[in-house]
């Protein structure tokens, strides 16, 4: 057994560009990561950081004529970039599935829950409609829908937000995919419902052994569910670490800012600590570090390196990489000073 056998998804140097009237938008730049079977990778970043676009690119869902995807994506060892759209389509909904942010707009308003689930089964399985309906009912029970026999013939608008997301999850997992991409699955939901949906995802992951790519900007969700975390900023991966390493030993000023901006119940604060400024335009990215314009520590780096040179991925430890020009001692000093993460050294 080679070490690669437990890898379900391998993304290498993924680039996504959109040609627009204003120029070329560099939405995703040289992003690489792997997802192991049954594990969860969280991709964190603010709006426009390329986290959703990169996953849509993997799923082959960037159908617009103005998008250009390059790099390599191996799903179960099969290259998806440049593959025939029909081949990728056959994997979609069967071996890899996706759920979206707003379950109301993601479900078709004109078809019943049952119709939509049955359709998902029948695309990939040559079975009768009755058998597909049985499977839909089974799946709905699994995702915790009550009085399924009645619900299955209802329309999305007749259900609550939490229930709709359960339906989406049921639809995504109905064919037992090996990979589930969850694009901000809890963002549009109430806080109490969020917890239920996360719990459901965790349970189903255990039951089906599905690997999850969880796209979110909610660090609470990350801490809850993820095994590994990829932090994205302006289309680049800026830090990649195990979930403990990321929270305890974050290595990059953007990650520090993200962690600092989360309110903590144990710390009394008048105001939140936002990261000043806004992300750079994806039409016109900086030559140097993408975070340089907002970074408060760039002056500590010699030779103006932050402005002039895009930082390489720095291996911090076996399971931890980050892009930053600051030296290790500088980073430890700043973290100690600002009380970021846990300082052991």
């Amino acid at each position: 057994m080679t070490p690669k056998d437990n890898v379900i998804l391998e993304v290498k140097n993924l680039n996504v560009e959109f040609t627009t009237d204003d120029g070329v938008v560099h939405a995703v730049n040289n992003v690489s990561y792997t997802v192991e079977r049954g594990k969860t990778l969280a991709i964190v970043g603010e709006s426009g950081s390329g986290k959703s676009v990169s996953s849509l690119a993997i799923m082959g869902l960037l159908t617009g004529t103005n998008s250009n995807v390059t790099g390599e994506v191996f799903f179960n060892g099969k290259e998806l970039v440049g593959a025939h759209p029909d081949e990728v389509r056959k994997l979609r909904g069967d071996e890899m599935a996706m759920i979206f942010q707003d379950p109301l707009s993601a479900l078709h308003p004109y078809y019943t829950i049952g119709d939509q689930l049955i359709e998902a089964v029948l695309v990939h399985n040559k079975i009768s409609e009755e058998a597909a309906r049985e499977r839909a009912i089974e799946m709905l029970i699994k995702v915790g829908i009550s009085s399924v026999e009645q619900r299955i013939d209802e329309y999305p608008h007749q259900l609550s937000g939490g229930m709709r997301q359960r339906i989406m999850i049921a639809m995504a997992l109905i064919n037992g995919p090996e990979l589930l991409i969850a694009d901000e699955p809890t963002t549009a939901l109430d806080v109490t419902v969020q917890a239920q949906i996360l719990e459901l995802l965790r349970e189903l992951q255990k039951e089906f052994g599905t690997a999850i790519v969880l796209i979110t900007h909610d660090l609470g969700v990350v801490a809850d569910l993820a095994d590994e975390v990829l932090v994205m900023y302006a289309g680049s991966a800026v830090e990649h670490a195990g979930v403990r390493e990321l929270f305890y030993e974050p290595q990059m000023p953007y990650t520090w800012g993200l962690l600092a901006s989360v309110p903590q119940i144990s710390v009394k604060k008048e105001k939140l600590d936002p990261i000043p400024g806004s992300p750079p335009s994806l039409l016109n990215l900086p030559i140097g570090c993408v975070f340089e314009p907002r970074c408060t520590f760039k002056n500590q780096v010699a030779n103006n390196a932050c402005v002039e040179k895009f930082p390489e991925l720095l291996v911090v430890s076996q399971n931890h990489e980050a892009r930053c020009h600051l030296s290790e001692s500088q980073r430890i000093a700043i973290r100690t000073d600002r009380k970021i993460g846990k300082i052991n050294k």
Binding site: L61, R89, R92, G93, F100, P109, E119, Y155
Partner: protein
């Protein structure tokens, strides 16, 4: 669903009642004395006075209105003694101009307009929607640009221009078709089609252009919806995504427009009927207006309004069939 339709039909009758009142008041609001209009220039005051009494125009407004309504449902008798004449139901009065029963005028004109409207409707729905679909599927490519270019031109050309152009070239200059002479379709199908072809095309050019644009924008809008992405994420082929998921959702506004446009035409395509000498409702209405033929005008207005109200009802019922979210009791 059923109570909804019943309620809608009830509202429809309420609207018709209100409408009949408004139309009736219009009749009485014209600055000329209706009795004066019943006879020509050489009229003596005695004849006018006699006509006034004979037509019941001397009665109070309410009585006149009730008589008018009664005439429609049970028929009425004008005048007394030897000068009585029966107007059997549905009676809408007599034309001031020709002395014919208005009902007869309308009944003769409605089928002509109906054939004109339905023929043009079929033509433009097929051409317009197909063109819109092709354009949407090839968004930004030459097919899209060509179709939208033609549609822009078609949409900009007024009916009187296109109609006259077709008339002059196809009939007068090149003699491709005989001069228009309306014949009912079951009596002389060849003459019917030869007469109707150009009017159909005239109307269809304008409406096809509009429907091509509408269909294209609707489909493009729907294709950007989240549930279309979900459908693709399920692994459905583009064909199924389009046919089953996008088209039905994009259909709703097209149905609304189609229903109202058809109803509008059923009330009389005045210009087209005029150009091609079709004895339809539009011709009846325009003739009545120029002649101050009040009973005919009111009847024409009423008939057009009925078409529009019915079309609204049909559109609403179709909505319920298309979009389950509308299914409220």
């Amino acid at each position: 669903m059923f109570p909804y339709i019943v309620r809608r039909i009830f509202v429809m009758f309420l609207m018709l009642t209100l409408l009949s009142i408004v139309v009736f008041l219009l009749f009485n609001a014209v600055p000329t004395d209706p009795a004066r209009l019943t006879c020509g220039k050489s009229c003596t005051p005695e004849v006018i006075a006699a006509n006034r009494i004979r037509l019941g125009l001397d009665q109070p407004l309410l009585t006149q209105y009730l008589e008018w309504i009664k005439g429609f449902f049970v028929g009425r008798t004008y005048g007394t003694g030897s000068a009585t004449f029966e107007c059997s139901r549905p009676c809408l009065g007599y034309s001031f101009r020709s002395g014919e029963e208005v009902t007869t005028l309308i009944v003769n004109a409605v089928p002509v307009t109906m054939y004109l409207a339905l023929g043009a409707f079929t033509l433009w729905m097929v051409v317009g929607i197909s063109a819109g679909i092709v354009a949407a599927k090839h968004q930004g490519k030459w097919q899209d640009r060509t179709i939208m270019g033609i549609a822009l031109v078609g949409y900009s050309l007024p009916v009187f221009f296109v109609g006259l152009l077709l008339l002059i070239f196809a009939i007068v200059r090149w003699n491709v078709l005989p001069y228009p002479d309306y014949e009912p379709p079951f009596e002389d199908p060849v003459a019917f089609f030869q007469t109707m072809l150009l009017p159909w095309v005239t109307l269809a050019i304008l409406y096809s252009a509009y429907y091509a644009r509408l269909t294209r924008s609707q489909i493009l809008e729907t294709m950007g919806e989240d549930y279309i992405r979900t459908a693709r994420a399920k692994g459905l082929s583009e064909r199924v995504v389009f046919r089953k998921h996008a088209f039905r959702a994009g259909l709703t506004p097209i149905v609304t427009s189609a229903g109202l446009d058809l109803a509008g035409l059923l009330g009389g395509a005045i210009i087209t009927e005029y150009i091609f000498s079709l004895p339809g409702l539009g011709r009846v209405a325009i003739g009545a207006v120029t002649d101050y033929d009040l009973p005919t005008i009111t009847a024409a207005v009423l008939v057009s309004a009925v078409f529009i109200i019915i079309a609204n009802l049909v559109v609403d019922i179709l909505y319920v069939a298309i979009d389950p979210r509308v299914r409220i009791t």
